[in-house]
Subunit: 149 residues, 2 copies
DNA sequence: TTAAAATAATTGCAAGTGCAAGGAAATAAA
DNA sequence: TTTATTTCCTTGCACTTGCAATTATTTTAA
């Protein structure tokens, strides 16, 4: 029976299988690290806050596209930052559909304080990787992403 | 000001940044593919169902550990499969804490029907990858995972 | 000028996930 | 035996996320 059996494929041979675990554990690690430093922000909030600071005054869609999050998610995260007084929104007078998003002074201070913390846990997954290996990895990942577009 | 500025790190240099996108798009692709073939099961349900079929009669913790999902998630997915008549649970008479999980005939038929579909979309992310590159990738991912343990 | 289409942001909802807590049964220790 | 610990599974809750629908505004086309 089943003479034409398709070749079996184990989960352990699927890159995505590992990636799911890596992403999950990495997020746990990051969450934990932020918490232990009393960051007061989640991983996503951190990423968006940092991105705002690098594009101060840009719109929510711009923030969203640079962090690769959809519009509703971006809205919600920014609102969380605003309610924590780390960011502020201001209607763009030249296009009243848009909000210009800014980092507050408190937000900037938080960034300065957390930057070294973040830099540190970001290195953990690639501990022991040579520069070449890191580039290789990134390149492979970019190709995968392209395949999925 | 800020003379000792930490070296900036762009999101585009973070492997995890790509992995999140890859995982997300891959899941979308898989979901869509299953739906277009009227699978009637989600991606996670598929993975668990397949895993059950390869370890017929094993307990939920065993299923969970082989798919790397936690106990509550495993319970819920299995219950979904049971309610769809694709799997069945049966108390282990020798250890009445455990349930032995089985694939039903309907479940087995579904697996046979979906296997080629799944095999196909699983190849998409690594299209154009040589065997060597795939091995390299897996190896790098395994090292990352180890770093995170 | 008016109508249609596109864009920015928001809201609501269904579904999934992680985590903590709890119940039942088995095992180990007292 | 009795008690304590461990294991397997389940339940509840808070939180996130993807998706569809909606509003307000701007841009394009008629």
């Amino acid at each position: 029976m089943q003479g034409n059996k398709v070749q079996e494929q184990r989960l352990e041979q699927l890159p995505v299988f590992y990636m799911e675990q890596i992403v999950r554990r990495y997020r746990q690690l990051a969450t934990q690290s932020l918490k232990s430093h009393h960051a007061g922000v989640s991983v996503d909030q951190w990423v968006v806050l940092k991105q705002i600071s690098e594009n101060n005054g840009s719109s929510q869609v711009e923030i969203g596209s640079s962090t690769v999050k959809d519009a509703p998610t971006t809205t919600r995260i920014i609102d969380q930052l605003v309610s924590k007084n780390l960011a502020s929104k201001q209607l763009d007078p030249e296009d009243r559909r848009r909000y210009m998003v800014f980092v507050t002074e408190k937000g900037r201070q938080l960034i300065d304080r957390l930057l070294p913390v973040v830099q540190e846990y970001r290195q953990i997954p690639v501990l022991g990787f040579s520069a070449t290996e890191q580039k290789q990895l990134i390149s492979l990942l970019q190709r995968m992403l392209k395949n999925l577009e």
